[in-house]
Symmetry: C2
Subunit: 232 residues, 2 copies
DNA sequence: TGATATTATATTGCATACAATAATGGAATT
DNA sequence: AATTCCATTATTGTATGCAATATAATATCA
């Protein structure tokens, strides 16, 4: 009965989309990277048509820029866009928190707890660590069962990785895992306002770590490295 | 030098996108309407390729549904999606209000005021009235200068028109114009919390008018008509 | 040599062609 | 008359081809 070759659900174009998205989020394709249609198609074994379709989708999600007649490239959001994005994220994730607070099922609690454990385990692996931190937020959103909310949080989390790639400090573990644990505790306890405050603080600190370093950023960066090397 | 025939900015695909979007929002293409690629292409004088691209974009925006191998159709959001959507809208528009409150420039105030006047003027024309009501919200979002916020509010407002088309009561002027005026006043005065409360109430009443009619909906609907006919 | 013009090459924009899948209509059978 | 089956038609999925535009490489001139 000749099953289809390898199409993990929903059209080959979506497969291309997922592949590129993942590559972008993993920073295998860094911000600014050119995305020529036929190289990609060649590499993935599909025609330009499908690549094009995927690129359109990605551009709608803000992950790639589509410059007319000049081709697509991984988006390079400005610092300002970064700040805006985190503000928007805050507004939406606050809704997530409010929706979930005191309403988590046993099963959901277990899932989240397990995820956090995973984060702790992967603390050393930089790449995985970043991805997992993002997934914690999308996991929370998922549990609200609110379709638009889920979509937007997913999008913003994905784009956040671009921001962090561009403006994040080298070794900052983007999301303190302990803050995730604390947040979960408040959510379980139904302490809505405290949970919201924690989420706010959490996102704020990401923003601060990534976006603010202006004046004395060089010193700070060096300090980090110095510490790691046992200097200073 | 033979300028291009009629391409109002950014590729013909986007033109198709805009055309379809407008048709959907104006309810010229009602929810559920089939969107065959070649009929549309024929009508608009472009090939299926471009129509397809536009349809992909529209599907990402939640305005059309893309059923594999079965073609595209104008989306028919469920009641539940409707409620979710307005919840999400609330979260985002609250951010809009907080951002704008007390920070409107003279020029912005004039623009908004003029727009409201336009809404009042067009109160009788049902179609225009709906469109203008939506535009008031997108106008506010625009003024925040927050790119992601603008995008999402635009999207949600557009999708709201689908919800109202499906579940709105026939003659309800979807957005009470006076509420827009009141909101503007609070924003000018910098009364943030009051403005936010007004916005919440405003969106709530839209939701209530459209979505809630559950149990006794038949009675309510009939009551409305009865009143209109001088009965009861 | 340095800047500019010019050709050559690569890449995108769009349309079309063909294969694959679904929708339709009309027998044939019960 | 209702229903199943098959053939026909319409529509989508994908690849490819050609024209248009950008990028590069090369040559030309000051």
């Amino acid at each position: 009965m000749a099953k289809k070759v390898s199409d993990a659900g929903g059209g080959r174009s979506q497969a291309v989309h997922r592949a590129l998205k993942r590559a972008i989020i993993d920073q295998a394709l860094p911000p600014g990277a050119k995305l020529p249609e036929d190289s990609i198609g060649e590499r993935l074994g599909v025609s330009r048509t499908l690549v094009r379709e995927a690129l359109v989708r990605l551009s709608q999600e803000g992950l790639v820029e589509l410059r007319p007649n000049k081709g697509a490239a991984v988006a390079r959001p400005s610092l300002e866009e970064g700040r805006d994005l985190f503000l928007t994220r805050m507004a939406l994730e606050r809704l997530v928190v409010e929706t979930l607070s005191g309403n988590l099922t046993r099963e959901q609690i277990d899932t989240l707890s397990a995820h956090i454990a995973g984060e702790e385990a992967a603390r050393t692996e930089h790449a995985a660590s970043i991805r997992l931190a993002g997934e914690f937020h999308t996991l929370l959103a998922q549990m609200t069962n609110n379709a638009s909310l889920i979509r937007y949080v997913n999008e913003l989390v994905a784009r956040s990785s671009l921001i962090l790639a561009l403006y994040g400090r080298p070794h900052s573990s983007e999301c303190a895992v302990s803050e995730h644990r604390d947040l979960l505790d408040k959510l379980i306890a139904g302490k809505t306002e405290e949970a919201a405050a924690l989420m706010a603080h959490h996102l704020d600190s990401i923003t601060a770590r990534a976006l603010l370093p202006t004046e004395n950023s060089i010193k700070d960066v060096l300090a980090t490295y110095a510490l790691a090397e046992g200097l200073a």
